[in-house]
């Protein structure tokens, strides 16, 4: 009798083990499926744009829709040749974007680095005040800021110039750059530059020879982030630029869309042109960005 009970107990238990095992298999499958769905959602819009930039206009407009794509470089050719796609001076926009973004990034990084160093290495009265103030300025929405900026800059005659936009972008990027570089400099032990000074360096030399090289990757990511912010910025640029002389690509894209809602292929090509630098740079910077964004993580 006892033997029978024992057997029964074993059987029930095997079922118990099995149900748990099956459940874990099913769960695993569900996870992978969900992950696949998520990644597709992330990639599809971008891929769709890229795909369509290679399709002839006729096919894009076709109704009922054609699902088998054919290939053409027409849009890109038109983009780079002559006056650009349908009269849109894409190359000028591209040139403006590059000039403004690169210059403002370099200046912002220099200013940001020196500010970040100040916060990381020195103690002074009202330090948190300055820090919070700096961050809060970043909270001002671009579009709200553009109103008075527009008035001020037009008085000074800096509307529709590279300089005006550069100046504005530098100010926009400095807070975040300071924040990032502050985090990175804090991670470098003070003893490093103290040892360098004992070895005979001035403060300035110690910085460039010892601390900067170690923080280099952090500074690089701050630079990339600043570049992307400038590259992608729209709200301020849309009002502070007027003509081909200084319009950047985001503004150009909007203009393009407003005027030529029919030429989707061309616009897709323009969009691709905008995406590529962003993607490449993202790939380079992803690790550091997270480190910088988490305020030094939970360890404080």
């Amino acid at each position: 009798m006892r033997h029978a009970l024992n057997l029964a107990w074993q059987v029930i238990n095997v079922d118990h083990n099995n149900s748990h095992r099956n459940r874990s298999y099913v769960l695993k499958g569900a996870y992978l499926f969900a992950l696949f769905v998520v990644m597709s959602i992330i990639c599809i819009p971008g891929l769709w744009i890229v795909l369509n930039s290679f399709r002839p206009a006729v096919e894009i407009m076709a109704k009922p829709p054609i699902w088998t794509p054919s290939f053409t470089l027409d849009h890109y050719r038109a983009l780079f040749g002559g006056a650009g796609e349908g009269g849109v001076p894409v190359l000028s926009y591209f040139r403006n974007s590059i000039i403004v973004s690169v210059v403002s990034t370099v200046i912002a990084v220099l200013i940001g680095m020196s500010g970040g160093y100040a916060f990381a290495r020195y103690r002074f009265k009202g330090k948190t005040g300055y820090f919070v103030g700096l961050m809060l300025f970043r909270a001002v929405p671009g579009v709200a800021l553009s109103l008075p900026l527009f008035i001020v800059l037009s008085r000074v005659g800096m509307i529709d110039t590279h300089i005006g936009l550069i100046f504005v972008y530098v100010a926009m990027n400095v807070p975040f750059t300071i924040w990032l570089t502050d985090g990175f400099f804090r991670q470098i032990p003070k003893e490093l530059h103290e040892a360098a000074e004992i070895d005979g360096c001035t403060r300035w030399q110690a910085f460039w020879q010892v601390e900067f090289p170690v923080a280099r990757s952090g500074v690089a990511s701050a630079a990339i982030f600043a570049f992307l912010t400038s590259w992608n910025e729209f709200a301020l640029a849309s009002q502070l630029t007027r003509s081909v002389d200084s319009k950047t690509m985001p503004v150009g894209l909007l203009d393009f869309t407003a005027e030529f809602t029919i030429n989707w292929g061309g616009m897709c090509a323009l969009a691709v042109l905008m995406i590529i630098p962003a993607l490449v740079l993202t790939f380079l910077v992803q690790k550091h960005l997270i480190a910088g964004l988490t305020f030094g993580g939970v360890k404080g």
Partner: protein, 364 residues
């Protein structure tokens, strides 16, 4: 009934086999200690019993129930982790009561159980503190309290004392032993410290490289080690091993030519010319006049003292026999000078013989 049975269990990580097919039966209410050098598979085995690692092959049963695929919460076990694993955002009281809260016990019952555990472990004053505010020893006790609050079938301890300083360690060892006497459940304890194993265990399971080398009571392993590994692992200082060759049926010859009779345990089990290792503990090699007086055959040596470590009630002497360094003990010690030569007595009845090649004990 809460015996734990491990049958032919193998654990593989890719190419690496961490546990190589072990068999073990731990009886109900037993305090079993898994001990061995790091990498021997003891922690892995414990975690498989807990359900924190999967079992590659074989079966694990707790209380007659096969538990291989069951998650930890269904095995009715509790565990004390090496790093205590306390919940940092909860107070001591909340830490202790957490598992009962999950089990949806009434608040009053939870408070009772928590207070009872706190009393046993002396935590009453710390109940409202957070782990970050506690010392190492206090955290240890909270971890133990958390384990006993649930009254599980089996307690698992994973090197709980390794992070404590030496003095605290000896104190906590006593607490754990008292706990076992008080509560009486099956305990499976993992450590790399043979002193803990010896003092705590009902039975010791000595492991190496994923295998079980010997299972037995502490005295079993101390007095009858199955091979040189056990002999040198258990006991402090470790057993001395000296090279020798069997001569005839009754004697062994050391490398410096001196003769000794064969230990009685190995009589009739050796062959002439066999290479062996003579094993003896420091407790059985003592200077004349500073020894435990015992009867039985002794071998006599005149040995130089290279180094001495005075411990107070006894000293450990570093000397050499036949060119190999050995350790001896001296009771009622007097100061010794390095280079001094003393007359030593070796108690032959307490010696062991091991085969040089297989390292196994030669014993009837």
């Amino acid at each position: 009934m809460t015996e734990v049975v491990i049958k032919n269990v193998i654990k593989r990580y890719g190419e690496n086999q961490a546990v190589q097919g072990i068999n073990l039966e731990i009886k109900d209410g037993e305090f079993a200690v898994l001990v061995g050098p790091s990498g021997c598979g003891k922690s892995t085995t414990l975690r498989m019993i807990a359900g924190l690692e999967s079992v590659t092959e074989g079966d694990i049963s707790i209380g007659g129930r096969r538990v291989n695929d069951l998650p930890p919460r269904e095995r009715n076990i509790s565990m004390v982790f090496q790093n205590y694993a306390l919940y940092p955002h909860m107070t001591v009281r909340e830490n202790l009561g957490f598992s009962l809260k999950i089990a949806k016990l009434e608040e009053q019952k939870i408070a009772e159980a928590v207070n009872h555990a706190a009393e046993i472990l002396g935590l009453d004053e710390l109940m409202d503190r957070r782990p970050a505010e506690l010392s190492g020893g206090q955290r240890q006790r909270v971890a133990m309290g958390r384990a006993i609050v649930r009254e599980p079938d089996v307690f698992l301890f994973d090197e709980p004392l390794s992070n404590l300083d030496a003095k605290l360690r000896t104190q906590m060892r006593v607490e754990i032993k008292k706990l076992h006497q008080h509560v009486g459940n099956t305990i499976i304890y993992v450590t790399h410290d043979q002193v803990e194993a010896m003092t705590l265990a009902d039975r010791i399971v000595l492991m190496k490289d994923g295998y079980i080398v010997q299972v037995g009571t502490p005295l079993d392993l101390f007095n009858q080690p199955v091979n040189t590994f056990v002999a040198t692992f258990i006991g402090s200082p470790p057993m001395n091993l000296v090279n020798a060759v069997v001569q005839g049926e009754n004697a062994i010859v050391l490398e410096d030519g001196s003769h000794l009779p064969i230990p009685s345990s190995a009589k009739n089990r050796v062959e002439d010319g066999q290479k062996v290792l003579l094993g003896f503990r420091a407790d059985h090699l003592m200077p004349k006049g500073h020894a435990i007086s015992e009867e039985g055959p002794t071998g006599e040596f005149e040995l130089p003292i290279n180094l001495s470590e005075p411990l107070g009630a006894e000293s450990i002497l570093y000397t050499e026999i036949a060119g190999q360094e050995v350790q001896a003990k001296m009771l009622n010690p007097r100061p010794v000078v390095s280079g001094e030569v003393l007359k030593f007595e070796l108690q032959l009845d307490k010696c062991h013989l091991f085969d040089s090649e297989t390292t196994e004990a030669i014993r009837s």
